[in-house]
Point group: C2
Chain length 254, copies 2
DNA sequence: CGCTTCGTTGAACAGCTTCAAACCTTGTGG
DNA sequence: CCACAAGGTTTGAAGCTGTTCAACGAAGCG
């Protein structure tokens, strides 16, 4: 999408957590210089994926965790009948692959939504480094839990009935992550298809399409195919709670 | 509910993974006798919770993981407006509390659905023991991933639109877990309220109630308040896939 | 340029929700 | 022990949201 980030100088980026712009959003966050060098030893050569390229598939042996360096991916599971459920979309600085931590093989799949580059962290080496660097271990745990919390958020979102609120939350989540990346959080580029968004939210394409149109009519967004401009972030934030959960679905604490 | 399991001989159960009937479903699975004794040293005194009692709350400091020994619990998150989303129901042998692994404080809550007894695994001690017993570490990881996979299942379920299918999947999941516990998997005792079930599935109470009635009319179930008899497990299994995802929500691999 | 896939829009339909009321259970106090 | 209150559960009827089916326009790709 953005030519500036697509043309990566790979040689410069190789093995250089220290010099990586994502450093503060990624595993190195809060790690001292000495330890950072050790982390670098755990990072294998980067991989580049084209749109549609698979990072890992269901059943693949667990070899590494992966950090999105540029581009974006989606993760999803297939049920018995081959239906897809998208679990999440992943932007630079986000780590994926935890699903295989235990059974030693992946139980989900990760696919690039656009040309993306990935940092590979072979688990064996990573484990060794984390055992030597407690701060890194804590940081890794923090990242794992961020993942779990994100899944809870996804569940909460799908538990709500109002489709418009779901889409608002989805867009706001993207905007927030754009901000962390120091991108313009009012100018989103949706690398995923409408089908993907619909699946992620538990809706059908038509509904998502109509919702985009409705939000545009309301003056909240300006939608042009894959690029979404958030004209009224305040209104969008409002929509995330306001329309709210129907009274009968509410269930206050206790 | 069942007087035989409610009247626990606590003194006999204290610190005795070795003698625990849940052993094969729980952390000790596949652990040798020597190592089992060391695991026992990581188990603090058991706790008993009455119906409605909280095991941990949002924001509580992370101190331990918990194994359900008898009874059952629900875990849930509260969103900003105080709305509940139930994440799961937990039967004996299941481990909860992972949500706090990273931020060092819980980001969800756990509440007993009936009188329940809990094994407490203080994390500091557990960590020490797992570092000494690799098999235990692997087993713990396996259990964590079971949790992640279960959440994926929950997402897949909520992504489907057909309420009847969701309820069928929910009941089948309970039945399967009953079987693992060597209970009669055709005679379920629903310790959670209809409100809880509805919330878990993203529906309203009335819909759940009607679905129970419908499944009864269909001859699949016999429902009597909290006790559900599965008359036709085959039909129930059928309902879990058959009605299926509407074509427009399907999205085959790729 | 034709093909395919993606995205949008319209109209009818279905399923779940909403609102309302009744029933049953449980617990409390007279 | 019974009356009463409170909450959980069930059932009915109406309304609304999202789905389904269908058609068309736009973009990407051989």
């Amino acid at each position: 999408m953005d030519p500036g980030t697509n043309v990566l100088d790979l040689s410069q980026l190789r093995r250089s957590c220290s010099s990586c712009a994502l450093s503060e959003l990624c595993l190195p966050a809060g790690i001292g210089n000495d330890d950072l060098e050790r982390l670098d030893t755990a990072v294998r050569d980067k991989r580049t994926l084209d749109r549609g390229g698979m990072l890992y598939r269901d059943g693949d042996p667990f070899e590494a965790l992966y950090v999105v360096r540029s581009g974006s991916l989606k993760t999803f599971v297939l049920d018995d009948s081959g239906d897809v459920q998208i679990l999440g979309f992943h932007l630079p600085g986000e780590i994926i692959g935890f699903d295989a931590l235990a059974s030693n093989q992946h139980v989900s799949q990760a696919e690039a939504l656009e040309r993306s580059s990935i940092c590979e962290l072979p688990y064996a080496r990573l484990q060794q480094v984390t055992s030597e660097v407690p701060a890194l271990h804590r940081q890794l745990m923090r990242v794992i839990s961020r993942e779990v919390i994100e899944e809870h958020r996804h569940l909460v979102m799908m538990g709500r009935q109002q489709a418009q609120e779901q889409l608002a939350i989805f867009l706001k989540s993207l905007a927030d992550r754009y901000q962390r990346l120091q991108r313009d959080s009012t100018a989103l580029t949706l690398s995923m298809s409408r089908y993907d968004i619909a699946n992620y939210l538990g809706l059908v394409v038509e509904t998502v399409s109509r919702l985009f149109s409705r939000l545009e009519e309301m003056g909240v967004l300006e939608v042009n195919r894959k690029s979404v401009r958030i004209c009224r972030p305040d209104l969008l934030a409002e929509l995330c709670r306001s329309s709210g959960v129907p009274a009968s679905k509410r269930r206050d604490a206790g």
